[in-house]
Amino acid sequence: MSEAIRLSEYPRAKRIDERQPPELRFSERAVQELERIKRHYPNKRAAMLPALWIAQREYGGHLPPEALMEVAYRLGTSYAVVEGVATFYTMYNKRPVGRVMLEVCTNLTCSICGGYEILRHLEEKLGIRAGETTPDGQFTLVEVECLNDCGNAPVMQVGNRYFGRLTPEKVDALLEELKNSEEHTVVQLADTIVQCHLSESERQDIERALAKAQAGSGGQDGQNG
């Protein structure tokens, strides 16, 4: 219990020197996706939000400074610009988080329909407080604002799904399920969001391009953004 990781206490990674070309870690798939998404807008800078979603997936669920640098490089802008955007939005994780995030709504309707009870129950059950990650890195618990599914209060977001009309019993069963599941993870959420941007024909194009690249050079690692 004492080793719970407090989000705000996590050590800051070293700042990146913008004069050095960054180390690029996007997969070939990520490069292809970003190429397609950029075409949705009149300039590539506008692809910032989707690019950050791609990065959050590629870097395993959060955005270390290296990820922001890579996005800056691929969109032809500066680190400061990307950091300014990334830190504005709550769903981009600036610090490492658990494999699965439990985001409990305690906004108005949920607050009068048991949202705080659900949050307290999870705190007790996981042995951490809201804002912390379990020592085994499985779960991060957060209190969030209205998820806008108030008709099903109390509500919790777990990755790419909402769970509503929660009771302590339902939460217990859900935790068991999540422990043994690859579903609803932080990485999967980022991927779901990326895929929502891509049309059917774009997704098919990407598969074709990837198949071709693989047949060609036996797998590139996607350094050319």
Binding site: L49, P50, Y92, T109, S111, I112, C113, D149, Q157, S199
Partner: protein, 431 residues
Amino acid sequence: MAELKVLFKDIDVPGIQTLEVYEQHGGYSALRKALGMTRQQVIDEVKASGLRGRGGAGFPAWIKWNGIPKDESQPHYVQCNADEGEPGTFKDRELMLRHPHQLIEGIIIAGYATLSKVGYIYIRGEYTEPARVMRRAIDEAYRAGYLGKNILGSGVDFDLYIHMGAGSYECGEESAMMSSIMGERGQPRLKFPHAPLPTIAGLWNCPTLINNVETLSCVPAIIRNGGAWYASMGTEKSTGTKIFSVSGHVNKPGNYEVEMGTPLMELLELAGGVKGKLKAVIPGGSSVPILPADKCDVNLDYESLQAAGTMLGSGGFMVLNDTVCIVKFMRRTAAFYAHESCGKCTPCREGTRWMVKIFDRILAGGGRMEDIDLLLDICDQIDGRSYCALGDAAAWPIRASIKHFRHEYEYFIKHGHSMVEAQAEHSVGGR
């Protein structure tokens, strides 16, 4: 006492999310009809319908549509607001999850009427379930030739892209949303008359039509049946129907579509009646002033609610029974606005945080009687002095709660604990 279903008419039809079933129920016939009309005729039909924006402000839709320049010297855009972040509101969620093609058809018609070739639907990042349904439906519409180049052989082009948010209430504000689509922080722009309207200089400084999901979802039925048909429902100035998202202390929470002007108490009955004793209602999302039970004898339309001192807003209808401590509830409201303030202007950024601090002092038992007037003073400092309406929205609910429930604040300050908890057996909410 009944629902009147326009938007929800076919929502219970199994498979209405698919193109095939949607077409069997008249889907995309409005688009075909619109493509056979002139652009001005489409706009005039929307004008005749009296449709007003359902995103919160209630601005007449046709004025925006008509305000887009009628030439193509610049690209034009349609921006569909699917950010739905107003606490208490969940209608756009259901409209997307269960009736995606109705919205897509509305967006394409809006694109045609405003000479736009590109549309963005801005869906909040948390809404992955509705976004996946929209994705599938948009893919279907492309395959069937309703989207893309030369729609149904008419020579009209229209591409529709999904743009996902990443967690920010402020991005629901239309100009903050423009910033967010352009890849920036979700902060708003100066408003008319200090800056041009989005219809003249919106996305990338090009003409942009911005409408809410519910507003655009109304369009197919209006084109199919005529504006006059739509205007025959509701009241003179608030035409048609409105979806209310009813939540909180009712027996059957959910979305209910009713005719504009329906008595508030009828909506409560539709939602299965109040659990316990009614204390207050917040009829239009967290941003609108609270309505105490003795003032709930009012009709649900823009004008009646305004006359009653509140607003129709987004239709997020929250019901509170007598176990709710208003002071704690308002502390939670204030904390929401403090968290979501984008930080661009001082009265909102600082004022919302001061209010939370004052509330915390009261809740901790250290409140002073002057704190009530101090809260009111801060509300006055924010209201009308902020860059966008989030500031105003932070002030109105607090001010109204003090107006109607001052005695609860006084009791809390005097005794150091909640009046409601002293009376009720158990307390609800807050910590």
